[in-house]
């Protein structure tokens, strides 16, 4: 059957057709849909794990038991999973194991632009990289075969443009191998020094064998064309090269980006006058070419930053840019923002009003950094708000300074990596205020359940972490729960806890307004007779409120009736429809 699929769905299909039995992942744009699509197959086990390290270890355990397993994450998630990754290289696998990692060049939804190919090189394991959805499907199946025949976990690299672009695929049948019997093999799976020392030579030999495989595997192919220029490329760049240069150039298209072939590259280079490496982000293939003595151009003509496109490549080859319409008027930006009715808004408004320095974290609430709320001071990585706040407060205290400080972290991020920072605060008695923005969902990645929501990946009832009990068990004595729609109560709680001289947690609890299980109230409206045009409501940065013809106006298709603006209006001009009439 011919079907249009995003890359992520095709990867999911390929893993499923390839016989995956256990999948454990943590959501992260642009990787999330792989696991979501896999979860539609009820003949396999899928789950959301608390973080990528746990997910990778679950996949390892499943592989150890003898079934094919996978885990999927975004590029920064692989940092979290790096610990098991490096030693998994030594143990190898029992059942095949695939680790999907999605990079985000141009940072559409990420905090950095790291290039995950370096992990494959550093951990000495193979990495595949598809160029469209059909390859996503085919390579995912191939990844299991490579994993089992070379006794290695396999990294599967995507980028945003492959993960989220749809192209045509042909579906196949699922072929699930019988489980490989489990046998106790301490010398392979117990990585203590005596055993690990014996495994390291295996890792080096495996890399040699994989390099030999890369020389002849159909994953890497030469497409002969013009002989003046030969392009070495992979992933989405291959499509841009084809679009911009057609058959004017010869192409060495790499489907396996680690280890890289040596003879194949030398042969290709010898067949053309000039070799150009075209790859987004780092000069990874380029460095390899230099190391094996092949002269290439790469980052001297292409940027190490952002996404490429056909015109980026055309420009580098001196092809004239296409004529286009020019718009002279300045166009106001339209940055993403917190939704109308977002429960985070009341918390951020209160923090800003109280002049609090706020260490932030990763999630929808990072949007609290946007004006007009502009309530955040830092965002680093998952969980860093909590541990960072402790360090910030120690830095102040050690040098006799005082500031009002707090951190904000969402429920999912808290379970992912905030709990360990909280343990540090409790253990070391840090007078720090941790605000958990509990909206009962993993929001930014598009509503995935997590261990605090009470539902599993299928939406079925599941275990639920009691955040208050967890904080108590860690030794916190000051634990408050507030409703962020109630500005007065939120303000009182935050003011009091800022004064506390011991560790303190405020749980700001209100489910995400976009959740299907949340019923919203009817939209509010402004009584223009009462509105004095003070614009206080506009300071909330709610997309449903704008200012027209001298007074505030509420857009009733966006308004969810949360009432935060009504609570803020000094002239009681905002209310329900009937109140306004």
């Amino acid at each position: 059957m011919r079907k249009l699929m995003i890359g992520n769905e095709a990867v999911a299909r390929g893993l499923w057709e390839g016989g995956v039995q256990v999948v454990s992942s943590y959501p992260g744009t642009p990787s999330t849909e792989i696991t979501e699509f896999l979860s539609e197959n009820r003949d396999i086990y899928t789950e959301w794990a608390p973080n990528e390290k746990v997910a990778t270890e679950v996949a390892f355990g499943a592989s150890l038991s003898g079934v094919r397993s996978a885990t999927c994450m975004k590029h920064v998630g692989l940092n979290v999973a790096a610990d098991p990754l490096f030693t998994l290289s030594y143990t190898g696998v029992n059942g095949g194991m695939v680790i999907c990692v999605a990079d985000d060049p141009a940072m559409h939804s990420s905090q950095n632009e790291q290039d995950s190919r370096h992990y494959a090189k550093a951990a000495k394991i193979p990495m595949l990289e598809p160029s469209d959805s059909a390859e996503c499907l085919a390579f995912a199946k191939e990844a299991f075969a490579i994993s089992e025949s070379f006794d290695t976990p396999v990294l599967f690299r995507l980028c945003t443009r492959i993960a989220h672009s749809q192209s045509v695929v042909e579906l196949g049948e699922r072929v699930a191998p019988d489980p490989i019997p489990y046998e106790r093999k301490g010398e392979k799976f117990i990585m203590m020094p005596g055993n690990a020392k014996k495994r390291h030579p295996f890792v080096e030999e495996r890399l040699q064998k994989l390099t030999a495989f890369a020389e002849t595997s159909p994953l890497n192919r030469i497409e002969a064309g013009g002989k003046h220029v030969g392009v070495i490329t992979s992933g989405t760049c291959y499509q841009y090269v084809r679009e911009a240069l057609g058959n004017e150039v010869s192409v060495l298209k790499l489907g396996m980006v680690w280890p890289l072939p040596v003879d194949l590259i030398k042969t290709f280079a010898a067949s053309v006058e000039r070799v150009v490496v075209i790859e987004e982000l780092d000069g990874f293939i380029e460095d390899h070419c230099r190391n094996i003595g092949v002269k290439v151009d790469g980052k001297s003509i292409f940027p190490p930053i952002g996404e490429y496109s056909q015109s980026v490549i055309a420009a580098a080859f001196g092809i004239e840019a296409k004529p286009h319409v020019l718009i002279e008027d300045p166009i106001p930006a339209r940055p993403p923002m917190m939704c109308a009715g977002c429960p985070h808004r009341g918390t951020f408004y209160t923090l800003k009003k109280n002049g609090v320095t706020v260490l932030g974290d990763i999630g929808c609430y990072t949007l609290g950094a946007q004006p007009p709320l502009a309530a955040l001071d830092s965002t680093l990585c998952m969980g860093a708000s909590v541990s960072g706040l402790h360090g910030f407060n120690r830095g102040l205290a050690e040098t006799g300074r005082k500031m009002k400080t707090a951190c904000v972290i969402g429920d999912s991020t808290f379970v992912h990596s905030g709990m360990t920072g909280l343990a540090d605060i409790a253990y070391n008695g840090s007078a720090s205020l941790v605000i958990v923005l509990d909206n009962s969902i993993t929001g930014m990645t598009g509503h995935q359940e997590n261990p605090t929501t009470g539902y599993n990946i299928h939406g079925d009832p599941a275990g639920k972490i009691d955040l208050e009990a967890l904080c108590r068990a860690m030794g916190f004595r000051r634990i408050r729960v507030v409703d962020p729609y109630d500005l007065a109560a939120t303000d009182a709680a935050i003011k009091e806890e800022l004064e506390a001289d011991e560790p303190s947690v405020v749980i700001s609890r209100r489910p995400c307004v976009l959740l299907k299980r949340v019923k919203t109230d009817p939209p509010l409206s402004v009584d223009t007779a009462l509105c004095r045009s003070c614009k206080k409501c506009l300071s909330l940065g709610c997309p449903a409120i704008s200012f027209r013809d001298g007074h505030a106006v509420i857009n009733d298709t966006l308004c969810t009736g949360c009432g935060v603006c009504a609570g803020l209006c000094p002239f009681h001009a905002i209310g329900g429809k009937e109140a306004a009439q």
Partner: protein, 192 residues
């Protein structure tokens, strides 16, 4: 055939996902090679969103660059201006005249430009401005703005028969929303 390029632009939450899904399905069923590219994630939170749709005998790149788009389907007026530079000379831009203020306008740091349609019309492109919101309301729900606009675009893509679009709507939309979406499609398609 030459690859045809279509961009769908708008504001996160306006339903461009359904429009691109229907468009992609119709084109694949018609036997074309098709690529559709959009970015999910942070940009969806009320931000400016763009989807690229390309079809032809063989499509390589999933994205569309400046000056390459044969059609732009804009769900909002300001977004039409933002992406107009992607239009090829003599390309066609279908604009929903609805205005949605971006945050810089809401907080008074910027002004919503008042002459967008005039400026577009002064260029070497075809401008088709319609009030899709009113038509969607006429069809039965303001949420069908996306399908009204898709209907408008479908009129221009004469190589695909009208019935294929209706079939795609019937098979892709939840049963209880089929009728309203068929009405919305027709209002966009039949508008003079």
């Amino acid at each position: 055939m030459k690859t045809v390029n279509i961009m769908i632009v708008g504001v996160g939450g306006q339903g461009s996902l359904l429009a691109s899904k229907l468009l992609g399905k119709v084109l694949v069923d018609a036997g074309y090679d098709v690529k559709v590219s959009e970015v999910h994630g942070m940009s969806q939170r009320g931000g400016s969103v763009v989807t690229y749709v390309r079809y032809g005998d063989k499509v390589a790149s999933p994205i569309i660059d400046l000056g390459e788009s044969d059609y732009i389907l804009s769900f909002e007026k300001l977004e039409a201006a933002r992406y107009a530079e992607y239009l090829s000379p003599r390309g066609k831009i279908i604009v929903n005249t609805q205005e949605i203020d971006p945050m810089p306008v809401i907080v008074g740091r910027a002004v919503y430009p008042s002459h967008i349609l005039n400026e577009l019309e002064s260029k070497d492109v075809t401008v088709d401005a319609i009030d899709a919101l009113s038509l969607a309301e006429k069809a039965g729900t303001a949420k069908a703005v996306n399908v009204v606009l898709l209907g408008r675009l479908a009129r221009s893509l004469s190589e695909v028969p009208r019935e294929s679009w209706l079939e795609a709507i019937r098979s892709s939309v939840k049963p209880k929303f089929v009728e309203v979406n068929l009405r919305a499609f027709d209002l966009g398609y039949s508008l003079d």
